[in-house]
C-alpha cells in the first residue's frame, strides 16, 4: 500500500520504518496515517501553541484535555472549548454545522460537565450573493436543529460576511458546561485491566477519514459526491448526555473520551497513551451499522454520538444497566494493558500491533515563514479616501451593513433560554449565564477581527483578544481564561504560515500581559479554495466571573437624563475598520498597537464601575467605533442622545475609528462624582446627555432613533 495515500510524506514514512523496525501492514499504515494528519496531530502548530500562557490562578485543567476547566468558586468549574467544523459545513452546510454542535457537546460531556451553553462563530461569503444566503440558511438551520433538540441554549455568537469566505465558510462551535470540581472526568486516568466500553450509536461508514479530509484544501469538485459526510442525531446525543452524567455521578467509570476525528482509533489510543497504558481492541465486538466494513473503516469512522468509557470489571453490569435504561447501545470493545502497545484483534488474529507512542507522539512539522509580499500594500491607507460628506448617512449604512445589522433572524432560530439559566442571551454584547445553585454569573465574549488580522496578523489578533477582555471587564467580570479557534489557510505556503505564526504570537502576548490563560482550543488549517485563501481568522471566546450576578453592568439600560461618558482616547485607528472597509471596498491599514498598561488601568476602573453601580449602562467600542456604539446603545435603550464633542484629529477618526481600551457609559446624575472619581487617572470625558428620540451630535447630524432601529433590524 502506498503511504502517500494515507497522507504521509517520504520522511515521515522513513521515521515510521525506524520506529517499527519493519514495514507496517495496510491497517497499521491507515492508523498511523490518520493519527499523523494535521487534524489529529496538530503537527504544524504544536510548537506555536506551547507559547500560550497556560497557567493562572483560576485554571483547573489547561490544554491537553477534551476541554479546559476554570474555577468558578463554590465548588463549580466551567469546562469550555471552541471547535471548527469548517470543511464539513462547506460540503454539507446543514449536517456539517449540526454535527459541529454535536461534537463540541461531547467534548464537554467528556469533562464530566453538563453541557450548558453554546455559541456559534459563522463566517460566510459575500453577502450580496444568493449562494451565501442559501448556505447561511442551511448552516443556521443545522445548528438550531441539533442545539435545540439536545437542549443546550445558544447564548450568542459572531456572524461575519466577506468574499474571502466565498468557497470556504467557517463554522466554529463553542461549548461550555458546568462541572463539580470534585467530579471532573479525565481521559488520562485509565488503568491496566480496565475495560474500554463503547456507548452510543453503532459505527457506520459516515465520516470515514474525515480527519485527513480536514487536513487538505477543498477542491472545487468536493460538492459532487463525497462519502465523508456525517449525519447527526441530537436525540441520541441527548440520551448520551444523560447517560454519561448518570454513570459518572454514580462513580462507575474511571476515564472518558469522546469520539471525534478518527473515531475509535483516536479515542482509544489517546486514552491509553495519556494514561500510560496499552490497549487491546477486539474489532468484532464493535457494533456496526453497515455490512462488510473493513477494520480500517471501523477504526476511522466518524459516526456521531459515541463515547468511550473506561470501566472497572466490577462496575460493568451497572454501566450496562444504565445504558439500557437510556436505550443506548453499549459494548465492551477492549481491555487496557500495561504493555504500551496498541493491538487490534479480529477474533484470535492479531491484525495490528503498534507501540502506543507512535499514535500519540506524532512528529512536528516546521514550515518556512515569509512576510507576505503584499503586506505593505495591505497596510497602506490613504486617509483622503475616507472623508465623510454625510455622517448621518454613513452611520446608517454602517448599522445596516451585513456585518453591522441585527442578527436576530439567525439567533431567533436557536433556543437561547432552555435550561433556565440565561441572564444575557444573543443580542447583548456579552453573554451571561448563572452558575448553578449560586448567585454567581459566568460571562462569555466571542470575538474575531478578520480584517484587522489580514492587514496585520499580530496587531489584529492582539486587538481581538483585548476586545474580548474589555467586554468582560466592562460588565464587571474578572477574566478566567480563554479558548480559541485558529482558522487559517495552508501552512505549507510560507506567507500563510507567517500569518498563522504572527496571529498566535499576538494572542499569546496579549493573554500573557493581561493575565488570561489559554485553556483549550482548536486549529483548522487549509481553509482555502483554488481561487483564494480565507482571511487569517483567529476566533476567541473568553470566560469571566462575577461573584454577584446583580452587579453585572449591562448595555442598553441608558435612561433619559443620564450623562453619556466616553472613557479612553478619542481616537483609535481607522485601519481595517468597518468604516474604512465600507469606503474602500477592502480592508486597508493597521489597527492600533497594543497598550497593555492602559488596558490594565481600564480593567481596574471598568470592574470597579460595575461593582459600585455608578453607571446605568455601558458598552465597549467595537465595530463602527464611537458613532455605532452610541447608535446601538440608543436603539437598545430606546432613548436618544445629545452628543457634543470636538474632534482632536478628524471627524472620521472621532466617529468611526476602532481599537484600544475605550467605552461609553451612561451615568445617572447622582453618581457622576463617584463615576468620575473611579475614572480618575484615565482619560474620560462627559460627551452628552441621554434625551429625546434622536441621536444628535452638535451640528454634525441628527438621526431619529426609529431610523437607526429600522436600519439595524432590516439591514441593507
Amino acid at each position: 500500500m502506498d503511504f502517500h495515500k494515507v497522507g504521509l510524506s517520504d520522511s515521515e514514512y522513513k521515521t515510521i520504518l525506524e520506529i517499527l523496525g519493519r514495514e507496517p501492514n495496510a491497517l497499521e499504515l491507515e492508523l498511523i496515517g490518520v493519527m499523523w494528519s494535521e487534524h489529529c496531530s496538530y503537527k504544524s502548530t504544536r510548537p506555536l501553541l506551547k507559547t500560550y500562557p497556560q497557567k493562572g490562578k483560576h485554571v483547573v485543567q489547561g490544554q491537553g484535555e477534551n476541554a479546559g476547566v476554570v474555577d468558578l468558586g463554590e465548588g463549580w468549574g466551567l469546562a469550555f472549548k471552541v471547535e471548527s467544523h469548517n470543511h464539513p459545513s462547506a460540503i454539507a452546510p446543514f449536517h456539517g454545522a449540526a454535527t459541529g454542535i454535536g461534537g463540541i457537546v461531547r467534548d464537554i460531556i467528556a469533562m464530566g460537565a453538563r453541557p450548558a451553553v453554546s455559541m456559534d462563530g459563522l463566517f460566510f461569503g459575500d453577502s450580496n450573493l444568493q449562494k451565501t444566503h442559501t448556505l447561511a440558511k442551511e448552516v443556521v438551520k443545522g445548528i438550531g436543529f441539533y442545539g435545540n433538540a439536545v437542549g443546550v441554549p445558544v447564548l450568542g455568537g459572531k456572524t461575519f460576511y466577506s468574499p474571502a469566505y466565498n468557497g470556504n465558510p467557517l463554522v466554529n462551535a463553542f461549548g461550555a458546561g458546568f462541572v463539580r470540581l470534585n467530579k471532573i472526568a479525565s481521559s488520562q486516568t485509565a488503568k491496566p485491566g480496565e475495560f474500554a466500553v463503547l456507548v452510543g450509536s453503532k459505527t457506520g461508514r459516515d465520516g470515514i477519514a474525515g480527519a485527513s479530509f480536514a487536513s487538505r484544501e477543498l477542491d472545487e469538485n468536493d460538492n459532487a459526491s463525497n462519502p465523508n459526510i456525517q449525519i447527526g442525531d441530537p436525540f441520541e446525543e441527548k440520551l448520551l448526555i444523560e447517560c454519561c452524567l448518570d454513570i459518572l455521578d454514580k462513580d462507575l467509570m474511571t476515564s472518558m473520551q469522546d469520539m471525534g476525528a478518527a473515531g475509535i482509533l483516536s479515542s482509544s489510543s489517546e486514552i491509553a497513551q495519556k494514561s500510560g497504558c496499552g490497549i487491546d481492541i477486539q474489532v468484532l465486538q464493535i457494533p456496526l451499522r453497515d455490512k462488510g466494513m473493513e477494520p480500517w473503516e471501523i477504526f476511522l469512522s466518524e459516526s456521531q454520538e459515541r463515547m468511550l468509557l473506561i470501566v472497572k470489571e466490577e462496575n460493568l453490569d451497572d454501566v450496562f444497566k444504565i445504558t439500557k435504561h437510556y436505550d443506548l447501545d453499549c459494548k465492551t470493545i477492549g481491555t487496557l494493558t500495561d504493555n504500551r502497545r496498541y493491538k487490534v484483534f479480529k477474533g484470535d488474529e492479531l491484525i495490528a500491533n503498534l507501540p502506543i507512542d507512535i499514535l500519540g507522539d506524532t512528529p512536528v512539522k516546521f514550515w518556512p515563514s515569509e512576510v507576505p509580499a503584499d503586506l505593505s500594500e495591505r497596510q497602506a491607507i490613504d486617509l483622503s479616501t475616507l472623508k465623510t460628506t454625510s455622517p448621518a448617512e454613513d452611520i446608517l449604512k454602517l448599522i445596516a451593513c451585513a456585518n453591522g445589522n441585527s442578527k436576530h433572524r439567525i439567533w431567533e432560530q436557536y433556543d437561547s433560554m432552555v435550561q433556565l439559566h440565561t441572564i444575557m442571551g444573543p443580542g447583548s454584547p456579552v453573554a451571561a449565564v448563572e452558575v448553578p445553585e449560586t448567585k454567581r454569573a459566568c460571562l462569555l465574549t466571542m470575538e474575531a477581527e478578520p480584517w484587522k488580522c489580514f492587514t496585520d496578523p499580530y496587531l489584529g489578533a492582539s486587538e481581538t483578544m483585548a476586545l474580548s477582555l474589555r467586554g468582560l471587564w466592562l460588565s464587571g467580570a474578572d477574566a478566567l481564561g480563554m479558548t480559541n479557534c485558529l482558522n487559517f489557510a495552508s501552512p505549507e505556503k510560507s506567507e500563510r504560515f507567517y500569518e498563522l505564526k504572527e496571529s498566535i504570537k499576538g494572542l499569546a502576548d496579549t493573554c500573557r500581559e493581561l493575565d488570561c490563560p489559554v485553556v483549550s482550543g482548536n486549529v483548522s488549517l487549509y481553509n482555502e479554495t483554488v481561487s483564494a485563501p480565507i482571511y487569517p481568522t483567529p476566533l476567541v471566546v473568553t470566560a469571566g466571573l462575577i461573584i454577584n450576578r446583580d452587579e453585572i453592568l449591562k448595555a442598553g439600560m441608558t435612561r433619559s437624563g443620564d450623562k453619556i461618558y466616553l472613557v479612553g482616547e478619542n481616537d483609535g485607528s481607522l485601519g481595517a475598520t468597518r468604516y474604512q472597509k465600507m469606503k474602500n471596498g477592502k480592508p486597508l491599514g493597521k489597527t492600533v498597537e497594543p497598550d497593555y498598561e492602559n488596558e490594565k488601568l481600564f480593567r481596574e476602573r471598568a470592574i470597579k464601575t460595575a461593582r459600585e453601580k455608578t453607571a446605568n449602562s455601558g458598552r465597549v467600542l467595537a465595530g463602527g467605533g464611537l458613532a455605532v456604539a452610541l447608535a446601538n446603545e440608543a436603539i437598545s435603550s430606546g432613548v436618544g442622545m445629545n452628543i457634543s464633542i470636538k474632534p482632536q484629529t478628524t471627524v472620521e477618526s472621532l466617529l468611526f475609528s476602532e481599537g484600544g481600551a475605550r467605552a461609553i457609559y451612561s451615568v445617572p446624575n447622582n453618581k457622576i462624582k463617584e463615576f468620575e472619581n473611579t475614572w480618575n487617572g484615565f482619560s474620560f470625558d462627559c460627551i452628552g446627555t441621554a434625551t429625546g428620540d434622536s441621536l444628535s451630535w452638535d451640528n454634525l447630524f441628527t438621526i431619529p432613533i426609529s431610523d437607526i432601529s429600522k436600519a439595524f433590524l432590516e439591514g441593507e
Binding site: 438551520k141 438550531g144 435545540n148 433538540a149 439536545v150 437542549g151 442525531d233 441530537p234 436525540f235 441520541e236 441527548k238 440520551l239 435504561h325 437510556y326 436505550d327 439567533w411 431567533e412 432560530q413 436557536y414 433556543d415 437561547s416 433560554m417 432552555v418 435550561q419 433556565l420 439559566h421 440565561t422 441572564i423 444575557m424 442571551g425 448563572e434 450576578r549 446583580d550
Partner: protein, 237 residues
C-alpha cells in the same frame, strides 16, 4: 400538594420546570420516567415538560403519546386532577387526545425562540385564576411545531365552550388574534384547556418567565400562584 413531572427520552425542560415550581409552589416533586405504568406518589398535578421527546421524530409528541405512562395520565385526568403540558408537553397531550387539535409546523418553517405576548382569555380553570381576563402577559416561546390547528367546526366548538385560555396578543393594545401569532396558530391560540378545566396545554413557557434575574421576565409567577390557589381552595397543601 404533590407534583409528578414526566420525563421522556429527549425531554429538556424537565429540570427547568422542577426548579420553577420548587421555588414557587409548596409542593413535593417527583420525576417519573415514561416507562413507568403508574404514579407511585398519587400526585395532584402531573406536568409534561417541553423538549424533544423521542427526538421530535415523525410528529412532535406522537411517540411519547405511545409511552407506558400515558395510561396512568389518562386515569389521573379522569379523576379530575390537574395536568399541565408545556410546549412538547402540549403536543403530547393533543397526540394522546387529552386535548383537542394538533400542533403543526410554524408557517415560517423555522424554529422560533422569542418573547411572546399572550392575552388571558379565560380564568375559570385551575391554572389562570390569579390573572384577570384581558391581562396581557409575556411568556417566551421556543418551538418549531407550534401552529395550533383544528378543523373549522371543532374550532368553533372549542371557542364557544370557552376553552381557549391564552391567545397571542399585541403587548401595547392588548388586542389578541391570529395576526399576533408568530407561528400562525389558528385564531391566535397559544393555550387551551379541556371542558372541565383540569387539563391545560400551552406552547409558551411560563417557567421561563419565573426568575427575575434571568432574561425571560416574571409574568409566569402568577401562573404558578394560580395553581397554588387551586389547591388552597381545595385544601390541597
Amino acid at each position: 400538594m404533590k407534583t409528578s413531572i414526566v420525563v421522556f427520552p429527549g425531554s429538556s425542560c424537565d429540570r427547568d420546570i422542577e426548579r420553577a415550581i420548587s421555588e414557587t409552589l409548596n409542593t413535593q416533586v417527583d420525576m417519573v420516567w415514561h416507562e413507568e405504568t403508574t404514579f407511585s406518589n398519587d400526585p395532584d398535578l402531573v406536568i409534561l415538560p417541553g423538549g424533544y421527546s423521542f427526538g421530535g421524530y415523525l410528529r412532535s409528541g406522537a411517540m411519547a403519546a405511545c409511552s407506558n405512562i400515558i395510561e396512568a395520565i389518562k386515569t389521573h385526568a379522569a379523576k379530575g386532577k390537574m395536568i399541565l403540558g408545556i410546549a412538547n408537553g402540549f403536543q403530547i397531550l393533543t397526540e394522546a387526545q387529552l386535548l383537542p387539535g394538533a400542533l403543526i409546523p410554524n408557517t415560517s418553517l423555522t424554529f422560533i425562540c422569542q418573547k411572546a405576548y399572550l392575552r388571558v382569555e379565560q380564568t375559570e380553570n385551575m391554572f389562570t385564576s390569579d390573572y384577570k381576563i384581558g391581562d396581557v402577559v409575556q411568556f417566551p416561546i421556543a418551538h418549531h411545531e407550534g401552529l395550533y390547528f383544528l378543523p373549522p367546526s371543532e374550532l368553533k366548538e372549542l371557542e364557544d365552550a370557552g376553552q381557549v385560555v391564552f391567545r397571542y396578543a399585541d403587548p401595547v393594545t392588548g388586542e389578541s388574534g391570529a395576526e399576533y401569532a408568530l407561528e400562525g396558530s389558528l385564531n391566535g391560540i397559544a393555550g387551551i384547556c379541556n371542558k372541565k378545566g383540569n387539563i391545560l396545554g400551552l406552547m409558551p413557557h411560563p417557567e421561563r418567565a419565573t426568575f427575575k434575574h434571568l432574561n425571560g421576565g416574571v409574568d409566569g409567577i402568577a401562573f404558578w400562584k394560580s395553581i397554588a390557589k387551586a389547591f388552597g381552595e381545595r385544601g390541597g397543601f
